[in-house]
Amino acid sequence: MRTNPITPEERGKAFATQRKPEVLKKQNLDVRYHIEDFETNDRPGRFLEAFAAILKHSNYKMALDHFIRMSAKCGRCATTCQVYQATGDPKDIPCYRSELLLSVYRRHFTLGGMLKGRLLGSGYLTDEKIQEMAESFWNCTACRRCTLECPSGIDHALITHLGRYILSEIGIAPRALVVSTREQLEGATGNTSAIPVPALIDTLEFLEEDMLEEKNVEIKFPMDVENADYVFIPAVSDYLMEAETLMGIAAVFTATGDSWTTGTGYFDGINYGLFYSDRILERVVKKIDAETKRLKGKNVLIGECGHASRSAKYYLPTYCGGKDAFPVINIMEYTHKVWKEGKLKFDPNIVTEKVAYHDPCNIARQKWIIDQPRELLKAFCKNYVEMTPFGADNICCGGGGGTISIDEIRPYRTTIGGKLKADQIRRSGCNILIAPCANCKKQLRELVEDQKIDCEVMGLHDLIYKAIIFDDSLIVKKDVQPENIAEEK
C-alpha cells in the first residue's frame, strides 16, 4: 500500500517538540517525548552494561546473531512500514532502524566486530547514536507488519522492543508510561489510571442502573466472586472511557448466565512492559496471576484490548508456570463461542450504518483473533465493509507500541503514524469503525478528528449492547415499577 508522503508543513507539525529547551539541554537528548530526569554521565557505558545484562538473562542473542548474519537488505520492509510510507525519510526504513541496534551488537558483542573495531579504532557507541535510537525506536509502533514481509525473518518490532528495554534501563523511557506503571506497581490504587476501588464500584453501580433503565434487564458487574469461571481484566482505562464496551460485555454475560467477576484486588490489564521493559512485563503479568489465584478463578478473561490480551496470553505461561498457567482468552473469543452455541440473539434491524472492522495488530498479526469478530458483526450488521489489507496483514492504527499513551506526540501519531490507516478508513466510507482495543480506539478517535473523517469509532461490544435481545425471562416486569404504570395511565 502506498500513500502520498507528508508535506513539509505537516512534517514540521508532526515533529514539533513540546519540550522546554532547558530540559533538552539538561537531559542532552533531543527527542519528542517527555522523560523523567536521569543520569547523563557515560550513557554509552551504561547502555552497554545494560545490554550485556539483558543478553545474559534472555533469549535475544539467538535472534540478534541470526539477524546480523543474514540480512538481505532487499528493501521489502520499506514498502510495508506505515511510518516510512508517510515520512519518506530513509531513516524510517525498518531495516535501517534495526541496524541501529544490530550495529551496536555487532561492534560490542561479537568477536569479529570487537576485533575490527579495535583495529580500526572505530564504531564505539556514542551519545549521538543513543539519541538516534531513543528517537527512532519510539517512531516505530511495533506493529510487526514489516516482519511478515522480510524474507530474512528480521523482526523489527522485536528489535524495537529490545532497544527500548535497554534504553529504559538507563532511564530513557517516555514519562507517560513510566508514571502510569509506577502507579500500577507501587502506587496506592494499583492501576495505571489511578482509579480507587470505591470509585470503581460507584462507576459500575451507576452503569448497572443505566442498563436497567435502557434494557429493562438486571445486568450486573459481579465483584470479588470466588470460583468464577472468568476473572475479567480489561484495560483499566475502559472504566473511564469505554462504558458502552463494558456494558456490552456485562450484557453478554447476563444473557448466557456464565459466572464472571471483577476482582477489587487487581483489575488492570494494561501492561506497558510489553512496550518498553521485560521486567515490567513480568511484574504486571504476575499481578494478574496473583489476583486470579486469590479469587480461585478458572480463566483469565481480557477485555477489548490488543496489547493486554497479547501480554497476558503469551506471557502468563512464560512467567507463571508454563503449561499450568491460567488459560487466557479475549472477550471476543468468549462472545463468539457463546453466540455459536446459540446463547445470544441479536436484532438485525438496529445497526443500519456502514460498519468496518479494524484488526488490532497485537491479536491479528499472529492470526489469533481475526474471523470471530467479523462473524459476529456480519450476524447483525446489514452493511459490513472490509478494509484491505486486513487480518494478519492489517495496517496499524498508528498508535501501537505504547505511543498512544504519550499525549505530547499526538500530532506525530495522527499525521504520520496513522496516515495509511486514515487513507484506508476514508476509502472504505464506513460510518462506524469497530476497534476492539483500548489503544486503537483512542488513536483512531484522535485520527478521525485530526484528519477530519466523518466516522464513529467504537468497540465490538458497544454494538453488541445495542443489538442484543434478551430472553423474556430476564426482562424485569413493568408492574413492579409503579411510576411507569402511573405515567402510562
Partner: protein
C-alpha cells in the same frame, strides 16, 4: 600462469570448498544450538508450529515474494537465483570436474539451457545492481557487500561464458579461466562470512523470530541483580 591455474583449481579450490562447507555447517549448528537453548530457557515452550512452517515455506518459494511487494525486483531476484543455483551445479563441464574430484556425477543441463541461463543470470545480476543503485530506499540501507556481491557473482558467469562461447587464443583462454576459477574460489570462501549465509540460514528465520518472543522466566530478578537495581523504584 599454468602453475597458478593449477593452484587455483587444485589446492585453493579444495580449501575454499572446505571452508565453505565447514563455515556454513558451523552457522547452521550455532543457530540450531541457540534455538535449542532458547527453547529450553523459555518459560512458555509452546510454539505455533503450523504458522512457523507455513511462513517458512512461503519464503522459500517465490510466490509470496512476487505477490506481496516489490514484484519486479522479486522477479529479477528469482530469475537471478535460478541461474545462480543451476549453472554452477549442472553445467556439463562442471560435472566432469566434480566427477574427477569426488568420484560421482549427475545429469547435466542441456547445452541450450545452460547457455540461456548464463545469459539471464548476467542480465538479472546487472539489473539488480542498477535497481539497488537507483532505488532510493534500497540504496540507503545497502552496505558495501550488497553492491559488491552481485558484481563478484557476475565475474565467473561472464568469464565462463567467454571461455566457452568465444574463440579465444590459448593464452587469453587461460587468463579468463584463471579469473573464472579464482572468482569462484573467492565466492566459496566468502559465503559463510557474509550475507550469502542466507542460502542455508533462511529456512530457520521464522522459527527464530517466533521463538525470540518466548522469554525466559524470572528475568526481572536476574537482570536487577546484575545491574544492581534490586528494590529500586520503577
Amino acid at each position: 600462469m599454468d602453475s597458478l591455474l593449477e593452484f587455483a583449481r587444485g589446492p585453493l579450490f579444495r580449501f575454499s570448498i572446505i571452508i565453505m562447507i565447514l563455515g556454513l555447517a558451523r552457522l547452521i549448528a550455532l543457530d540450531l544450538y541457540s534455538i535449542f537453548r532458547a527453547h529450553q530457557k523459555a518459560g512458555d515452550k509452546s510454539l505455533p508450529w503450523g504458522l512457523i512452517i507455513s511462513r517458512s515455506i512461503e519464503w522459500l518459494f517465490p510466490v509470496k515474494r512476487i505477490a506481496h511487494n516489490r514484484p519486479i525486483y522479486s522477479i529479477f531476484s528469482i530469475l537471478f537465483h535460478i541461474g545462480l543455483l543451476l549453472v554452477p551445479l549442472f553445467l556439463f563441464a562442471h560435472i566432469q570436474l566434480w566427477e574427477k574430484g569426488i568420484g560421482f556425477s549427475w545429469p547435466a543441463l542441456p547445452y541450450n539451457w545452460a547457455y540461456w541461463l548464463t545469459i539471464s543470470t548476467i542480465i538479472f545480476a546487472v539489473l539488480l545492481i542498477i535497481g539497488r543503485i537507483f532505488n532510493k530506499s534500497s540504496s540507503f540501507i545497502s552496505r558495501k557487500q550488497d553492491f559488491l556481491w552481485p558484481v563478484l557473482l557476475l565475474i565467473p558467469f561472464v568469464t565462463g561464458f567467454v571461455c566457452s562461447h568465444l574463440n579465444l587464443s590459448p593464452s587469453n583462454y587461460r587468463l579468463f579461466m584463471l579469473i573464472h576459477i579464482l572468482s569462484g574460489d573467492m565466492i566459496f570462501l566468502l559465503m559463510p562470512f557474509t550475507k550469502i549465509a542466507h542460502c542455508v540460514l533462511m529456512p530457520l528465520s521464522q522459527v527464530i523470530c517466533t521463538l525470540a518472543w518466548k522469554f525466559p522466566a524470572d528475568t526481572d530478578d536476574k537482570v536487577c541483580t546484575t545491574l544492581n537495581k534490586k528494590g529500586a523504584a520503577v
